[in-house]
Amino acid sequence: MSQLGQIIESVRVYDHFVEAEVASVRKDPAKANEVMGRWRDITAKVGKTRTPTGLELPTLALPRYDDPGEIIRFMLEGGLPGEFPYVSAAYSEQYLSRDQENGAAGEKKGEEPTRLFAGLGLAEDTNQRFHYLSRNQQNKRLSTAFDGPTLYGVGALAPGVFGKIGEGGVAIDTVEDVERLYAGFDLDQPNVSVSMTISGPAPILLAMYIAAAKRRFGSDVVPKLRGTIQADVLKEVQAQNELIFPIGPSLRFLADMVEFCSLNMRRWYPISISGYHIAEAGATPVQQAAYTLSNGFAYVDYFKTKGMDINVFGPRLSFFLDCGLDVEYVALARVCRKIWAIGMRDVFHGDERAQRLKLHTQTSGRSLVAADWKNNLTRTAIELVLACMNATNSCHSNAADEPFTTPSEEYARYAAHAQGILLEESGVFKHMMNTLPGSPGMQAVGEAVQTAILEEFEAIEAQGGVLGAVERRYQRSQIQAAAHVLESQISSGSRPVIGLNRYALEDIAWPDLETIRTPAKKKKAHQERVEEFHRKHARESEKALDRLAAVVENGGNTFSELINCVEHCSLGQITARLTEVVGRFRPMV
């Protein structure tokens, strides 16, 4: 049985264990007493809070059970936030308003989950947008989107990419671009974190980030750097199609980077295991969860076989899920946390920190439509509520104008404010940890979702596990089939989309938006800067590339060498050389 088979087994074993415990507590008065004692302690520790209208509320709502069997089921099924298997929440006090002081010191409470994705034009343009977006934030979270030539690692000088420079994301070719991108932010401070949404060339970009930070803050800065890089190779193969090197070498470069980060950058999340793009490509919510979790377990398995310590890298893994409007999202992330916790504890033997699934959620881009597009504000708001009911640790809310363009400042602001309205202005989440979760409906959805995820796991297991199924295009074909079904449902009207196939206006009202485009002059200027960098480093770049190629051939840690290499070489130069050594990813269709 592969690891995935053992995980299926251990989730089922855990559910049986819960029921067995319930039965045994009911039969054994001594055990019942012990449970009731624990329950009294838990109840006594619950904090109190007062709402602006003067109402007094507990910070955590506990059900009024007097049967020890029900109580033990509640506890073991993850009813308590921050307790295994973390169904309710990974941590015990997230979202609680910062002006309440009931939490234990050092908890992650009170962090604003707001993260806004930005990337446009050249590094200095995105830098300006970062300063605008974060001007009112205590915690500066700079979430970076890259343009096509960067995502594909070809660089701005590659033939035929001119039109793509700075479109849909920022153009980054050199360490100097990265310096410009985060200029004016104190990367060495705990209130600044950076995230980079890039996978194919992720190790090269992170190497540039480290090199840029060292240039400004000295080499002591490395352990202080906070942030996340996506670096999810498997979902690229399954859905997003932005892979550069074949799967084998891509996994190796990733493992080298993860190893470096777990040893030297303990505040950095070197991989964000992503279902977002799987869902955006048309997968069902269950497929999203099943493929993402199984990809996560495949990484853990791979890193372990590379000799890495699960308790060192395990806590540095994080997840990124889509949240759409389907009913599954009422409980999807809760089920994911449970399966992850059980797999990490019972199959991989990771400690408590490795068992907690840390989650970033983004509202669904695919759910946004061009027809009568201001309805997108409502769609995103509902998705945000679902994401927060599922206790996501951070969230990006989409701008309503996204079907048309990189978000305009106006709609990016509304998107950010939606989170403020939900979490700060409204009282739904800030007073209590679990105002909404725990309904029988949520429970029923969760159980159905769990069953369906385990069935998907079985299908993957039957094909030799995640990598075997990837090789057979299993996940891709399932996602494509689901996308086809979705489109036909929208097309036939059996799946209502308001303003599109129901209550549609006569004419699609096109927005009077200024589309964000990068002028040709800027694109040219960027190319010239890259050429200038090449000229400046012409004498060192070949040698640096030779050293890198030698490490790749001889089996050392490629990431440490990349940090040196980016001082003299651009993204395009590095990928070109690596491609010669390890080959190119052959697209799957």
């Binding site: 343009d147 995502l151 594909y152 039109g163 084998g248 096109w510």
Partner: protein, 377 residues
């Protein structure tokens, strides 16, 4: 009447293939032959493929921005190669604005589909706009265009113009290599890796032709998708043509033999590689005596089922080279020894090799390459 042939693709640095995958499936249901080039493709790759495949139109699905420049580049490359008759249309959800579309129309794009366009509308557009035949008159010096038009004539059952497109070395001997095997064995990947080795080994004036086959679906459309997974074969020195079987069983199309003879007769290519459709057990696409090919290779996956199945595979008797591909998979060793004993009793001299074509610099592929292209062949 010959089916409408169009080419679809997603631009360079763009991996959004969800929409085009859905559209492709709908087009072929309505009798259209779609050559799908895949995602992250440059304007040069798209134009080269469109010319070689002799399509009526190119459909581009773009979601990552830069579409005005990209579509313009495709159009100007077509113009520069006397191929203004190949029309260009496309879409990109709502990322292409009305203003962009107007600008693109001015530059010669025929049609942009906006968000919410029903699939049937796109099919109707393709059917009504591209059903008239292309003017057959070729007044061009572009070699690929001339070859492509002649191949279309052959496919339509007409005579090809025997005039070679340029002065060629009359002594150049064009070898013909057949490659067949069941679907999913890795034929396309193997051919692409052979193309890479060809491009590295031979000087710039040497060219390779690939004739690739995919099955037609009921209703006479076909999704010709081999190009989408090929990375090295998208090169000016490779001439590739995708042929739909158009109802013929057995692995090739009715016009294949004449097409191969035409390509061979040109004296331009060092070799023509024929890729069959995924073949069944009884298939002998190149005949038992190989009148069509100089060397025939059978690509076998390790998971063919029970040992007894091997007895039924006719190509195991007829192939010159048998490659057990995906040699990294479970069961590969068993497959090699079972196939080895299956071949032992054959009178024909056969070579059995193990390959892992999806691996960079695979020594098994090197071996096939030298078997095919070594001077002693």
């Amino acid at each position: 009447m010959a089916p409408i042939r169009i080419l679809t693709a997603v631009p360079i640095c763009d991996g959004h293939d969800s929409a085009i995958n859905t559209i492709n499936l709908d087009l072929i249901r309505y009798g259209i032959e779609v050559i799908y080039l895949g995602y992250h493709r440059s304007a040069h790759d798209i134009v080269r493929a469109a010319i070689q495949e002799d399509v009526r139109a190119i459909g581009i699905s773009s979601y990552n921005g830069g579409h005005v420049e990209f579509f313009s580049e495709v159009l100007s490359l077509l113009q520069g190669r006397d191929c203004g008759h190949i029309r260009v249309f496309g879409g990109g959800g709502a990322t292409i604005t009305k203003a962009d579309a107007d600008l693109m129309y001015q530059r010669g794009v025929d049609k942009i589909f906006f968000a919410g366009t029903p699939l049937e509308e796109m099919v109707r557009y393709v059917q009504s706009s591209f059903s008239t035949p292309i003017p057959a008159v070729v007044n061009t010096s572009f070699e690929d265009r001339i070859i492509a038009v002649n191949l279309s004539e052959i496919e339509a059952g007409n005579e090809a113009d025997s005039q070679p497109p340029r002065h060629v070395d009359p002594n150049r001997d064009t070898k013909v290599f057949g490659i067949s095997g069941p679907g999913g064995a890795g034929k396309t990947t193997l051919i692409d890796e052979l193309a890479l080795r060809f491009l590295r080994k031979f000087p710039a004036d040497h060219r390779l032709a690939i004739l690739s086959h995919d099955p037609s679906v009921v209703g006479s459309g076909a999704l010709l998708g081999d190009r989408a997974t090929m990375i090295y074969s998208q090169d000016n020195r490779v001439f590739m043509r995708s042929m739909a079987t158009r109802g013929l069983a057995g692995g090739l199309a009715a016009a294949s033999e004449r097409a191969v003879k035409y390509l061979k007769g040109l004296g331009i290519f060092d070799a023509v590689i024929i890729e069959t459709v995924g073949t069944g057990q009884e298939a002998l696409p190149f005949g038992f005596d190989h009148s069509l090919t100089d060397l025939a290779t059978l690509v076998m996956p390790p998971d063919y089922g029970a040992r007894l199945q091997l007895q039924k595979i006719a190509m195991l008797d007829a192939a010159d080279i048998v490659a057990v591909n995906k040699a990294d998979l479970r069961g590969a060793r068993t497959a090699v020894s079972e196939i080895e004993s299956r071949l032992r009793s054959n009178p024909r001299k056969q070579t059995l090799l193990q390959t892992q074509a999806n691996r960079h610099r695979d020594p098994g592929v090197d071996q096939i390459f030298s078997n095919l292209f070594s001077p002693t062949v």
